[in-house]
Subunit: 370 residues, 2 copies
């Protein structure tokens, strides 16, 4: 599949609700794998990286899931296409910076993505919407078993899979869920949650992984350790903790609706008002306001058929997606913020005001009669 | 006229546009006057204040302009009524705290207001919409000449009118204009303007005079000195300076529309979006957002027949006016902020979105074609 054709379709994980889809945006697992006796990409010379690429790429392309895949060398992708793949979480920022000697192969429904010569020879990633780490594990495990059968993985009986960075040695697995936590944010419980999660050996990160800021109340929770535990143990632990965070988020939302309903209404109403009437907006503010709209959907304040629309906007308002939509290459941040505002207004033009404002054309009630 | 009947009507200075009405909200002059050989209200005993009241009140009531006036002792007004008069700039905060021994007489159209036993025996105030200090001076001067004819004013050939506070001795006159300066605010020129105005002996204050904060981009510019200059000189000086500020504001608006149009659109669009969709808003934020809507009207982004509506909102969203509208007495700040949001939504429910957003249902233009 050509990049243009591939990128014209939305990622499947965005379509429809997965389990606990109101809180868990997506579940993701990646494996780091390397070929025995070949230098890691960061250490290898150009011809050594090319040699690994020539060994690995055809095998990856032959994976049964990779029928009709996007399969492309990083030297054949333009800056914009690379950035689009980053914004869809299909390649890493680091991989986007690679050129000749690196490649990526992604299934057409964008659920399984394999980077060749990123930090490791192979970075295999599977991604589904909602809370379904076990299903994601099945997908990635199936791909990994196929590849392990054809390729000679660097593996130590004592340590497990060997990786370029020691933090990945062992299982080479990083499993994560992207959580939408507006309730915990509005009730100021995020720092407490991050602190507790960190204490039990898990990491909490922003929307684009390591070293990125939390935006749109989206938090990625993942395992930190890869050594000394089985994949099953890691996943069980992670699932248990995420289930607890989901419960906390549900309780926070219930408590807000019960005790601070007007604050919730105000937050959602303002988000709606600004998104539909601003003339300029940056990514961060847009994501934060979309988070309030998403909460409004979960609370039933907006018609539910707008859900996919809103979920897609989280991706579509990012710089490369905007640039692609407007079919332009040269945009400074100011121009981009204007186009983003215009784009959001157009996209949301049919979204009605939140239902709790419907009384706005009625005379205000007399509080003495309440 | 009964207070309830009086307060049911809006102040005339709010209705229709005065000269330079886009920038000068109102022009106001007050005279401080005292009766010869009677102790100032702050020094006098209760029976001495009552004696002055009995001398002055009937004379004030007999002013030809005071036909059908509101004429009431401060002990007969409720807290809410007093606060309503303060919010309409018809009595001072200090006078609202007075009770027996003090009174106020106000013309039905609310243009001329005379406080008895405020800081001085007489505080005469005239108020008109727009930039018309000369007309205001005619009104107040006519009333003052009538009163001077019937009452024995404390006057020194050397100093002029004697007043309780030395800062008023001389003319006893404080003339001011309330200016709406969103252009200077948005182009960050307010501190520079305040500095220049202060240097030439004039004062710049917030919406409720001395010691109050600037809200809604409303600034009151007034003379500081009352001694050693004639009323005419003071007014000429003040008029000249205000004319210059008006020019600066006009230039700032033109420059913003020319060089930062999108910033102006964004500010006005967001103000519209928040005012029409928030569920809670305090006075200060509401005034600041209304200021942007008012600028939008001046720029032609809203239909002009909404002008009076918006101007009245500046008064109507204040605490006592809200309390009166909702016919309630017990409101904590949170409840008031909710009712304010509801009130504004209702009042503005027919205000269309700013005209520059009309394109929001069209597909966004391609910037390459621009």
């Amino acid at each position: 599949m050509k990049p243009a054709e591939f990128l014209a379709k939305p990622s499947q994980w965005l379509i429809g609700d997965g389990p606990e889809g109101n809180i868990v945006v997506s579940s993701r697992i990646r494996f780091a794998r390397n070929i025995k006796c070949k230098p890691f990409p960061g250490w290898g010379k150009r011809n050594e990286r090319l040699e690994v690429l020539h060994i690995v790429w055809p095998v990856v392309e032959n994976l049964p899931q990779m029928h009709d895949a996007l399969s492309v060398g990083m030297d054949s992708l333009g800056m914009l296409e690379k950035q689009l793949l980053v914004e869809r979480h299909l390649i890493s920022r680091e991989h986007a910076a690679k050129s000749i000697g690196s490649a990526v192969v992604i299934t057409p429904e964008q659920t399984l993505s394999i980077m060749i010569n990123e930090e490791d020879h192979l970075r295999i990633q599977a991604l589904l919407g909602g809370f379904q780490l076990q299903q994601v594990f099945s997908i990635i495990n199936q791909a990994d078993e196929y590849l392990e059968d054809k390729l000679d993985y660097a593996f130590s009986e004592q340590l497990g899979y060997l990786t370029a960075c020691p933090t990945n040695v062992g299982t080479g697995m990083r499993a994560s869920a992207m959580l939408h936590l507006p309730g915990l944010f509005m009730s100021e419980q995020i720092p407490k949650i991050i602190n507790s999660v960190n204490k039990i050996g898990l990491a909490v990160r922003g929307i684009h992984g390591e070293g990125t800021e939390a935006m749109g109340n989206l938090f990625q929770v993942s395992n930190q350790t890869t050594l000394g535990e089985s994949e099953e143990d890691i996943l069980n632990h992670l699932q248990k903790v995420i289930s607890q965070i989901i419960e906390h988020e549900k309780n926070a939302r219930l408590s807000l609706l019960e005790k601070r309903l007007n604050f919730v209404h105000d937050t959602i109403g303002r988000a709606y008002g600004i998104l539909l009437h601003c003339a300029s907006i940056n990514s961060k503010e847009a994501l934060n306001l979309l988070s309030s709209i998403k909460l409004g959907l979960d609370c039933g304040f907006f018609p539910s058929h707008f859900r996919q629309f809103i979920d897609e906007l989280f991706i579509e308002i990012q710089p490369a997606h905007l640039q692609k939509f407007f079919n332009t290459t040269k945009l400074n941040p100011q121009e981009r913020d204007c186009l983003r505002a215009q784009f959001i207004r157009q996209k949301l033009s049919h979204l009605p005001p939140p239902s709790f404002l419907h009384s706005s054309n009625q005379p205000p009630p007399n509080p003495q009669n309440n």
